[in-house]
């Protein structure tokens, strides 16, 4: 069933079409939800909510983007709504930010040569360390980092989803990356075996 047939079926209320939509997109959307809410049961609740919302707002789907992109946006918003219902977690990352000394110069220790993105090996151990470091960020930093750097929403999309200005997204993302950099210092510039 191609996407047009699928959308036609959904608009007719065809349950098979809806089942196809769910089985096709569920694994990816569940992974997206898990990255945002970090709890398997909550992630499934958010995905369920997202599919129901999608069905409810099918009339607003203009076909300007792919169904998958449209659903991705809906699941992100369902997850953010879920996060808003919970108190913000502070994380335990050091949020001191970049350091400058009395001469106005940056303080940054020398270290091993940096790796370009192509040189990053991405071992399972390294991935786990990065996941753990992201989890240590305060909730508002973690959320903006996941939306922009991992889910690849544009600044505008992230601002709309979070209900803040684009400027605030940029400032928050920059600080989140700075805090994550401190947490990842042991990994930076090294090749993990």
């Amino acid at each position: 069933m191609d996407e047009k047939d699928l959308i036609d079926g959904l608009r007719r209320g065809d349950e098979d079409a809806f089942r196809t939509l769910v089985t096709t997109h569920l694994p990816r959307l569940r992974a997206v939800a898990l990255r945002i809410v970090r709890d398997a049961h909550l992630a499934e609740d958010c995905v369920q909510e997202a599919f129901v919302r999608a069905l409810r707002s099918l009339d607003r789907f203009r076909g300007e983007s792919l169904l998958g992109t449209w659903l991705h946006r809906i699941v992100v918003n369902a997850c953010l709504d879920e996060l808003r219902r919970r108190p913000l977690t502070a994380g335990d990352a050091d949020l001191a930010g970049p350091a400058f000394d009395g001469t106005g110069c940056r303080v940054e220790p020398p270290g091993p040569p940096m790796r370009s993105p192509e040189e990053l090996v991405g071992t399972e151990r390294e991935r786990r360390q990065v996941h753990a470091a992201i989890d240590r960020l305060p909730e508002d930093y973690r959320t903006v980092l996941v939306l922009r750097d991992i889910e690849e929403l544009s600044t505008r999309e992230a601002a709309e989803s979070l209900g803040i200005s684009e400027g605030a997204v940029k400032v928050r993302l920059h600080r989140a990356r700075g805090a994550l950099k401190v947490l990842l210092e042991p990994l930076l510039g090294r090749s993990t075996p």
């Binding site: 089985t23 990255r35 400058f100 001469t103 106005g104 940096m114 990053l120 950099k181 930076l188």
Partner: protein, 103 residues
């Protein structure tokens, strides 16, 4: 920090502050996000590049900042890969039921 290093940093700090067209490390920090995102206008980008060429600390900070962004992307970049048999039937049925209730 040795006296020699402190002196070298003082000279560098003064040069960044006093030489026309130079950015201080603090000013560079303000532009760093826009630089990495490719949003900095050409003239500001040239001033940024000049500072990076002269300042080991900012050069290393920028490299580590970029590596941080790349590492976080890399840590999740195959999370979307479909896993065979990973669609749980009970979840599919729960979603279909929820949608039916909605109608």
């Amino acid at each position: 920090m040795t006296r020699r290093t402190t002196l070298a940093r003082r000279v560098k700090g003064a040069m960044m502050r006093l030489v026309p067209g130079m950015l201080t490390c603090g000013q560079l920090e303000d532009f760093l996000y826009a630089y990495v995102e490719g949003e900095l206008p050409r003239a500001a980008r040239m001033r940024f590049d000049l500072h990076i060429a002269l300042c080991r600390e900012c050069h290393d900070y920028l490299a580590r900042y970029r590596e941080t962004v790349a590492l976080s992307r890399r840590a999740f970049d195959d999370a979307d890969a479909p896993v065979p048999g990973s669609v749980p039937d009970d979840l599919v049925e729960a979603i279909v039921r929820a949608a039916r209730t909605e109608e």
